[in-house]
Symmetry: C2
Subunit: 315 residues, 2 copies
């Protein structure tokens, strides 16, 4: 396979974080109602293809505006899937453009299923799929994928195998950032909560996935909105990278995410979606023509906020 | 909305079961390596579009062979998603063809996310999405969707609302059919297992979704491979419809699924995928030209097996 990536995912991610001096991620979650009009006006068709074209134009401009600042982008599948095969085309063009700019792409899909079906998802996102002639090809070919492990090990195994074989990464939901995450995740199994139990499972499943930098390609999703719980999970999973949603629009601030990091300053990547890509809407002038430069400023501000918080709390 | 379905999903499903005298579902999970050669040969391109075209030809033939026998079909998203936007086009054409034949379509996607993102998934599958001109359109527009509720109520709420507004259905994972499902689901929260806890949540969330036939449009996924656990969940959720995977290729037999039903003979739909659509491969002659008639025979056999088991155990 000529396009096999030569390096453990965790090493690639940490090297990219070092290069940009920035552990933050821009979430590419386009919403048609917030896409500036001038990106839509070129397309007069009123259908799903028109939305897909607007998404592609928007995402490319955002990527152009932030690719030298952030190490990675995280497109959320739901926003593309809304528009069926047209939306998935926009997702594919977005991935491809982001990778051409040297960005690591984390697909936020929270996929999950039984073993034989999980194999199909794993092949789609991380590995290779069979063509009609029997040969194997890459389909989405992202760098990493988020997973929901309610189904247990056999639903996770195909992804862990793909991480090894293709040097990809996964982030498994431990404690999510949403207000109701406690409905199940905070319930107690003996002396542990469900999210702690899940974190221990993630630890078992990720054993041996360490790269040269000491971190694992099998990571966890840990919401920034729950810093106390993040601290507990940090203790359970010292060598795992946390993908941390909840910063910005969901209410978490830089001080909240410090618990997600290790004393070495690594171990977490912080995502912001709406707070970056639709920053122009929070701006006093709401100048949609400058949505990209406003996004760039927001991404720089986020980088500086995180950097300051990490420096302050590591004193 | 002109194409709003006029009836509660549970009523529609139970009426369809009555009409076909059959509570079974055919899983449309195409795998290119098992699609008969004569369906592929028309397409000489070696790319994802060729696979998509073969899937569409295959699914249409399967639907033609079983639509008068079964009330519903269940396409598994993973098998389509493997082929990117081309695969999703095949998924869309499959849905549309199945509905044109009067079949209920259950998309097995196990989607899950935080509230604002769950809204996007809900709009994609059950509701309406916004177009670039601001008007609302249907995108996938299936009858029901499977969900994973690890994230709790706010991730489920948009789907419950769509069930009400558009007369759609959801099936939430309780106890799944795979060997490792116990890794998390069998762990004990106080005196209840995680799958019982989840079943109680499904009960709370589905309250008020009953149709005229007494069943709810908010159902549960309960694996046929765990009949004892199914009995427990039946007690927790007396008015919920169970979507039951695991029959056939995964090893469960008709006697195993009896526990999923209520004494009234309703309350469950049983899925078989490989055992029906690729029945020709288990056949002595392995005649791939007759894959459709072999699938039809397998679907009839499954109907009869279930009917006999239900009659025998209700004696």
């Amino acid at each position: 396979m000529e396009n096999k990536v030569p390096e453990n995912f965790a090493d690639r991610l940490i090297n990219a974080i070092d290069e940009k001096h920035n552990p933050s991620v821009v979430g590419l979650d386009p919403r048609i109602e917030h896409i500036p009009e001038h990106l839509k006006s070129k397309h007069c068709r009123d259908d799903r293809e028109a939305v897909a074209d607007a998404f592609i134009a928007f995402n490319k401009a955002i990527i152009d505006a932030v690719y030298d600042i952030v190490p990675a982008v995280k497109p959320q599948l739901a926003f593309y899937e809304q528009y069926g095969h047209c939306g998935i085309r926009a997702f594919e063009e977005t991935i491809s453009y982001a990778r051409s700019k040297g960005l690591i792409v984390i697909a936020d899909a929270k996929r999950n299923d039984i073993g034989s079906t999980a194999e199909a998802y794993s092949a789609a996102y991380l590995g290779e799929v069979r063509n009609s002639s029997g040969s194997m090809i890459r389909s989405f070919d992202v760098d990493a994928l988020t997973l929901n492990a309610y189904l247990g090990w056999d639903g996770v195994k195909p992804f862990v195998q793909a991480c090894k074989e293709y040097n990809k990464g996964i982030f498994i939901l431990a404690k999510t950032s949403n207000p109701s995450s406690g409905d199940l995740q905070d319930k107690k199994i003996d002396d542990k909560t469900v999210y702690e139990e899940m974190s221990h499972l993630i630890g078992q499943w990720g054993d041996g996935s360490e790269g040269k930098r000491g971190y694992r390609s099998i990571g966890a999703v840990v919401g920034a909105t729950f810093p106390e719980q993040a601290k507990q999970i940090r203790n359970i999973l010292p060598n795992s990278i946390f993908l941390v949603p909840g910063y910005g629009a969901q209410g978490a601030i830089a001080a909240d995410i410090v618990a997600c990091f290790n004393p070495d300053g690594y171990g977490a990547i912080i995502n912001s979606s709406r707070g970056i890509i639709f920053a122009y809407m929070d701006d006093q002038n709401k100048n949609s023509r400058q949505f990209d430069t406003t996004a760039r400023s927001a991404a720089i501000r986020m980088k500086e906020d995180i950097s300051r918080a990490l420096a302050f709390f590591s004193l």
